[in-house]
């Protein structure tokens, strides 16, 4: 990853203009050819530096449901339970955290019913009680990583 890749990532975090040839304006801003911008984006996705490029629909505005949840997993079973969860397509993120509640995951489901069913399924699979913490109010969402 070089300086131009960094410029591109920082620029694209602000979004691509909604126009017919969006790469032209980005390329112009960065002072390179539109083809080069696309090639670099392609490489960054292939390398896994970026995991996605495109519009992200607000799941709650399109009928879906999100939650943040946690489990207290006994150390000996930690990896096995992580595997069980990660196999579920509804699990978007899963992190180990330093706390008695040591496994924290985000569920992204197509409907509130699917969310409830997934929570029950996780309790059945793991034999553990889920701490379900759906958001009640959003004060700020601004994931920005200057690279």
């Amino acid at each position: 990853m070089d300086e131009r890749d960094r410029q591109l990532i920082n620029r694209l975090q602000h979004g691509l203009p909604l126009v017919r040839q969006p790469w032209q304006s980005v390329a112009q801003e960065l002072g390179c050819a539109p083809g080069e911008v696309l090639d670099r984006l392609h490489a960054l996705l292939e390398d896994g530096v970026l995991t996605r490029f495109g519009p992200m629909f607000d799941i709650e505005r399109v009928g879906g449901a999100f939650t943040l949840a946690a489990l207290t997993v006994p150390e000996a079973r930690f990896d096995a339970v992580a595997e069980q969860l990660n196999a579920l397509p509804q699990v978007a993120h899963n992190y180990r955290r330093e706390h008695a509640w040591n496994m924290w995951f985000v569920l992204a489901c197509a409907s509130p019913e699917e969310l409830d069913a997934t929570l029950s399924r996780i309790e059945t699979l793991s034999g553990l009680t889920v701490l379900n913490l759906p958001k009640e109010h959003t004060y700020h969402v601004g994931l920005h990583f200057p690279v």
Binding site: F66, H140, V147
Partner: protein, 171 residues
């Protein structure tokens, strides 16, 4: 006047976009071809969805770990209900706070109702930043904890907007 997409075309378009934006010089032409529409219709629909707030931007999802943002802290606070909006708004505006949400208490197992995500390249820097935030906003006396992540088992690009984090909570 550009004709709107049919319901079926709208659904098809949403489905195509789940895989991301086509990486070609005229992505909306490519999408239009896939759903049997004109590029102007697709762009009009995208603008409409954007205005309605269905998506914030045509942007990217970073593998923040691959980029060195390995210190991922979830700061949780137990804020009196009457103050949670005030504290949430202030912390949400603070530099370095990527996400800030109110979530329910689950007594007796879980007392914390305000969640902030702070990311950085080094744990010590993130810890110091959180200490500064708490001091600046006079929150040191509130019960709080900082939960660092030590391993990310799964972080998919996701078809939907966060969280992240929620990634970070959202994760």
């Amino acid at each position: 006047m550009i004709a709107p997409l049919t319901q079926e075309q709208m659904l098809d378009l949403r489905q195509c976009l789940e895989r991301g934006l086509p990486r070609v010089s005229r992505p909306y032409d490519a999408l239009a071809e896939q759903i049997g529409a004109h590029h102007d219709q697709v762009l009009q629909q995208m603008q409409h969805w954007h205005e309605q707030g269905l998506f914030r931007r045509v942007g990217l999802v970073l593998n923040h770990r691959a980029l060195g943002f390995v210190a991922n802290a979830m700061l949780v606070l137990d804020v009196p209900d009457a103050l949670v909006d005030n504290v949430g708004q202030r912390l949400g505006r603070a530099p370095g706070v990527n996400l800030c949400y109110q979530r329910p208490r689950r007594l007796p197992q879980w007392r914390y109702n305000l969640f902030c995500m702070v990311h950085g390249r080094e744990r010590a820097v993130v810890e110091a930043h959180i200490e500064t935030l708490l001091a600046e906003h006079l929150l040191n006396d509130l019960p709080h904890q900082v939960l660092f992540s030590t391993h990310a088992f799964k972080q998919c690009g996701g078809r939907f907007a966060p969280p992240p984090s929620q990634v970070w909570a959202h994760g």
